[in-house]
Symmetry: C2
């Protein structure tokens, strides 16, 4: 039988609830096309592969039940790394290890699923393959809850995180409204430089609830004075005020607000406060009412039980499209969503040169934020609304969602095997 060659997949960067949907999509695309003999998975991305850690995915995922369960499992089935490949001129031995592995295992395509930093790995591997004239295709598949990758309408994983943020914001509003005393609730949401996920809190507004009343993003400079005056102005009309704030809000000079406030703990050591806590502490000094802050923390990137169906379905689609792109001979490209229509919502999947994407950040355009810098515009909401539409069917057992076992990541017997 003629060998068709093999492919390998890696995941890297921060987790999302949709990154395994893209992994499932690649596996489904391979099954449908029958274009590869085996699909391997790097354990802990390119860093793990350098240590000889990988597994055979084709053997484990060969039924639609297993592939569907993988698609709704949060975080990363293959584990992650935060590793920046050095330039091949500086460390050629690293590239020799990797490409010797690819060649000796008859690997003709490398799929790498990740965000801005991970796309740097795609750039470097494909540049090396080009220089050495090796016919190995390197394909990038996007993922990030931050929605900050250029060239793509939005990123896989963002819609589900946005649905969690919007749902939770609505539920926090319910929790807040029940007391007959004035209060300010500050909700801190992830995003160091791009405020997309914090902006998604605006999707929580319904015909009856206007929470969040204020939204502060890294893209508009933040002033404590303006913040306090925003609160005082709103308190004249409303009893309970809810604020959405990005962890990455900055002052006029570009300094993170969170970095301006440190606390000294009981042992005399300085601890950094988050943006929410910093605002809470400051506001308590300024106004005489109940102030609390809530950090959504890792829940916003791991809450698979409230994933967006649109996001999960598209993330599977983009994985399948990656297989087609590889079979069409593409390399050094990343798959992107291209929005064809907003109503009805419909995206096409295209691919773009990786150089235009790696190490670049797409932030919210200033005209999608109001002039005062304390809210988003209707245009942003129209763009974002379709991304949280639909609920994913998840099986439950013993009252818990049924996800894939990911503890192979911590088991030695999977390592160093073919």
């Amino acid at each position: 039988m003629l060998s068709k060659g093999n492919c390998i997949i890696g995941q890297s960067g921060g987790p999302t609830v949709a990154i395994n949907a893209s992994l499932s999509g690649v596996l489904q695309g391979v099954l449908e096309s029958d274009a590869y003999d085996s699909v391997y998975g790097m354990i802990n991305g390119i860093e793990g592969l350098l240590q000889g850690k990988y597994l055979n995915l084709s053997e484990q995922f060969n039924t639609s039940e297993e592939l569907d369960k993988l698609a709704i499992t949060p975080a990363m089935y293959l584990g992650s790394c935060r590793f920046k490949l050095p330039d091949y001129k500086v460390a050629p031995e690293i590239y020799e290890i990797l490409f010797n592995f690819f060649i000796s295992n008859n690997i003709t395509t490398v799929f790498y699923i990740g965000g801005n930093d991970s796309m740097d790995t795609v750039v470097k591997l494909s540049s090396y393959a080009k220089v050495k004239d090796l016919s190995i295709n390197i394909i990038g598949i996007p993922k990030t809850i931050d929605n900050d990758l250029p060239m793509t309408d939005h990123t896989p994983g963002f819609g589900s995180a946005a649905k969690f943020v919007a749902t939770t914001m609505l539920e926090i509003a319910h929790d807040t409204y029940i007391y007959n005393i004035p209060s300010v609730t500050i909700v801190e949401i992830m995003g160091r430089n791009a405020g997309w996920l914090t902006a998604a809190s605006a999707l929580a507004r319904t015909s009856y609830s206007n929470a969040p009343d204020l939204i502060y993003l890294p893209e508009a400079s933040f002033s404590m004075d303006a913040f306090v005056s925003d609160i005082k102005r709103l308190q004249k009309e409303r009893k309970n005020i809810i604020v959405a704030v990005s962890e990455g809000i900055k002052d006029e000079e570009g300094n993170y607000i969170s970095a301006t406030s440190t606390t000294v703990d009981a042992f005399g050591h300085k601890q950094l406060c988050g943006a929410g806590k910093t605002l809470e502490n400051y506001l308590k000094e300024q106004i005489g009412c109940k102030v609390r802050s809530i950090e959504l923390n890792v829940l916003q990137r791991s809450a698979g039980h409230i994933a967006s169906k649109t996001d999960i379905d598209e993330s599977v689609m983009i994985g399948k499209a990656a297989v087609k792109a590889a079979l069409a001979g593409k390399t050094a490209e990343m798959l992107c969503y291209n929005r064809m229509s907003n109503d009805p919502y419909y995206v096409d999947i295209v691919s773009h040169a990786i150089e235009d994407i790696a190490n670049k950040e797409k932030v919210i355009p200033r005209h999608w934020i109001n002039e005062q810098g304390n809210d988003v515009t209707e245009e942003l909401i129209t763009y974002m609304r379709p991304l949280i539409e639909g609920e994913t069917f998840i099986g439950y057992a013993n009252g818990l969602p049924i996800y894939c076992d990911i503890t192979h990541l911590h088991k030695k017997h999977f390592f160093n095997e073919k």
Copy 2:
């Protein structure tokens, strides 16, 4: 037409996702029995009623669609209060206001939904009625995420909070396992004196995930030294350790651990740390790996989208049973779950004298905690497992759960009307 009399319902204490299910249950019970002309609702509990704030519920909830939507709406449709009625000998005028209202509105039954403190209100109102020989029945309906009410097998609202905690713990485990570096993740869960909700994190364990690795509860005294040695011991076998800790853990002398660690903020003011943050800061000093803490915060009592079907169904049932109890002439009693069988799980609803319940707390029996005080026993898990079973059907619109509008709580035109 002969007047059948009216009834009134109040809600008080902290919110849960099931307290509106009990409100819906009372309304359904009234509709089915046709025993009252109108059902009124106090706005912000007994405190709001003293200010003349109430509304007519019968007019608003007269279809099964409306009643079903109410049953899955988190927090409190009627708003809450934290108000302790003074003794009637000390402040007879307060009781005169309330009972004049009841009598002039032909109210023959008062239903009050709440926890330990709220049951104190039931005790005081019913004692006053007895002393004054007024034929007004006062019925208590339990609710609390803390599960700390005596005489009832468990409390409405607990199962849903437990399902959120267990699901989130499993998802945090997925988020944690992906990195190939040692880490400790501390998850702080609500419960000042009773550790039931923190113990529910043990329900997150599956055939593949043993998170949480350690569980610390207020019922077993906590020692920082034992904590650090537990962590160091486990680190020899596992890379990622996940700890569930109750906000109310105490040292041997009964002092809250959270109160032993204060931080000084940038303005020189002392701020209290939570238990999770306190453990995080201490552990960072003791071991050289990544340590982070996550506070589940109000999400554990407001996440209606992951409510337990068992909890919601039972909470409706207990509301209906309260109507039957009132019609049977009971007063000064609280409805309770009585577990008849664990497999198959089945509860009966009975009622108990309120004096045995009000102002009392039910904590975890010490023999349901292991000897070392860092985990729960299989018996506790067997008791708790049925309470998180089943998923509630929630409608979605625009990607968000469809809940009842609760903003009437902040609208003046509902107040002072009949």
